[in-house]
């Protein structure tokens, strides 16, 4: 399944947050959205996920989601959004309960995603007992449980410290390598973008427009060994964004 944005524009009252964004998210690829703060990248992701309605333009789904997919567009939140009153397993079960699945199948899905995110030993733990990295792993497991056609990741690693972020990036690469998924990955961290993105879309500051697109052809699994090349790409991205980021930083926010 492929997603297509057709000249999407959006405004919050008089404040125009984005204008004329057209973009394709190809199957099995990770598209990273980067841009200065306030450029509407999270809004764009909410529009993609159907959590917000764009003022102009349209979001199209091309083709059918694969068979067995329970929730085609699945979100991963920056602050994990785990229910504190449910255990790790309970949080994953939450998103399966309203689907008509046999008990055995439900159990199978939960076992599988726990194993893939290496959480099997923690299935009975409460979220409060887990570190930030573990919580985001639970959120990833929950997202994988519904077999999404497209994963929408909203700064999934931004609330984590840099060591944990490194570990989770490796996890994401491993997950993608084993079973390539389609994803839109919003971040302000250029390092994450060049490590995880097949295509990097640079947005301008408010009102956000697509300023540049950059494809990186190195396979995800080999990027850890291609530090030099990635650093060059990251520098290139930064040179595109620097002036924008500076200007955005000096802007007054109207709410």
């Amino acid at each position: 399944m492929q997603l297509e944005l057709v000249s999407v524009g959006h405004a919050y009252g008089p404040v125009e947050v984005m204008a004329d964004i057209s973009l394709t998210v190809p199957t099995g690829r990770i598209v990273c959205l980067v841009g200065p703060s306030g450029c509407g990248k999270s809004t764009l992701l909410r529009i993609l996920g159907g959590l917000e309605r764009p003022d102009r333009g349209a979001v199209l789904q091309l083709g059918q989601p694969p068979a067995g997919c329970l929730n085609p567009l699945t979100y991963v939140f920056q602050h994990f959004a785990l229910l504190p009153w449910r255990t790790v397993e309970g949080n994953i079960r939450l998103v399966l309960e309203h689907h008509h699945l046999a008990a055995a199948e439900r159990r199978e899905i939960i076992d599988d995603v726990l194993a893939r995110t290496r959480l099997t030993d923690f299935r009975a733990a409460w979220p409060r007992q887990l570190s930030g990295g573990m919580r985001q792993r639970v959120a990833l497991a929950r997202a994988l449980a519904v077999r999404p056609a497209v994963m929408l990741l909203d700064e999934p690693l931004s609330a984590l410290d840099s060591q944990t972020r490194e570990l989770l990036m490796d996890d994401l690469v491993a997950l993608w390598t084993r079973a390539p998924f389609t994803a839109v990955y919003v971040t302000h961290n250029l390092d994450e973008a060049v490590r995880l993105g097949h295509r990097i879309v640079v947005l301008s500051r408010r009102p956000g427009r697509i300023r540049a697109m950059l494809d990186i052809d190195i396979p995800l699994a080999e990027r850890a060994g291609a530090a030099g090349e990635l650093a060059a790409r990251q520098a290139e991205l930064w040179s595109m964004m620097r002036a924008e980021a500076e200007a955005a930083d000096r802007e007054l926010s109207d709410g």
Partner: protein
């Protein structure tokens, strides 16, 4: 840097002293046995004061005499005679008030139209001393039990509504968005995300509401009841029988302690995820 200076001079340049600690505090922690000990000390002080004559018998009764009165009351069957109707009034009134309060509070929390209509109304009803309405309730519901149920129900209803919609308002909206993003239906979001999220604050609202219920119970019984803790206290008061008065008041205190204990247990059991 520092080490180099040390090795160069061979001695500390000035007198060394530890940095004064100025952190800590502002973090209440449970301390056991303090409450019973304080209680005991107060009782012993009053007992000693009344026995020695420093505290006159007109000011305070002897705690031992109060205990004796309580004991007699229990043995003679008078305790049950008064406690049973009181507990029934409290139970029925609170059950009505809390369920209506929680129900309406959730509706206010979920629906803008209901909120727009009812929040000002509740705000207008909240500060009315409910006991002032007892004569009205007597006319509406009759002199017997129903007017007392109504008074307690109404009195516990208003604080419970306010606590409940506040609790629903404070449920993390990203959790609701998460539910929506996984395709959960409205009902599933309400029962699996909103209600459990609001539950802790609803429980602490219950604590307050039940305490108010006990106050109203006593007031209602003072204004017109043959049996009941409030009636017992009123009779004792008009005869200036301090032992009986204090015996009645201690029953109310114990009732309050029991409520707080029960809610504490519920919190422990249901909120072990916190």
């Amino acid at each position: 840097m520092v080490d180099q200076t040390h090795s160069a001079t061979g001695a500390r340049p000035v007198a060394a002293r530890p940095i004064a600690f100025r952190g800590g505090g502002f973090a209440p922690r449970p301390v056991r046995h303090v409450a019973p000990a304080l209680f005991l000390v107060l009782i012993v002080l009053v007992e000693a004061g009344t026995r020695s004559g420093i505290i006159s018998n007109l000011t305070l009764p002897r705690p031992s005499a109060v205990a004796l009165t309580l004991y007699d009351l229990a043995v003679s069957g008078g305790l049950m005679q008064h406690l049973v109707p009181s507990m029934r009034r409290l139970g029925v009134g609170i059950a009505l008030g809390l369920s209506a309060g929680i129900g309406l509070g959730v509706l206010i929390g979920l629906f803008s139209l209901i909120r727009a209509g009812l929040v000002p109304l509740v705000a207008a009803l909240f500060p009315i001393p409910k006991i002032a309405l007892l004569p009205l309730f007597v006319i509406w519901f009759g002199i017997d039990e129903t007017s007392k149920y109504a008074l307690i129900a109404f009195g516990t209803f208003t604080p419970m509504v306010v606590a409940t919609y506040g609790a629903v308002d404070n449920v993390d909206r990203t959790l609701v968005r998460m539910g929506q993003s996984f395709g959960l239906g409205w009902w599933a979001i309400v029962t699996k995300i909103v209600m459990p999220g609001a539950f802790p604050a609803i429980l602490s609202g219950m604590r307050v509401a039940i305490a108010i219920g006990i106050i109203l119970l006593t007031a209602a019984e003072m204004l017109g009841a043959e049996y009941g803790i409030g009636a017992y206290i009123l009779t004792a008061g008009s005869l200036y029988d301090l032992e009986k008065l204090f015996a009645g008041v201690s029953i109310l205190s114990m009732l309050g302690l029991m409520v707080s204990f029960v809610i504490g247990r519920i919190e422990k059991r249901m909120l072990d995820w916190r």
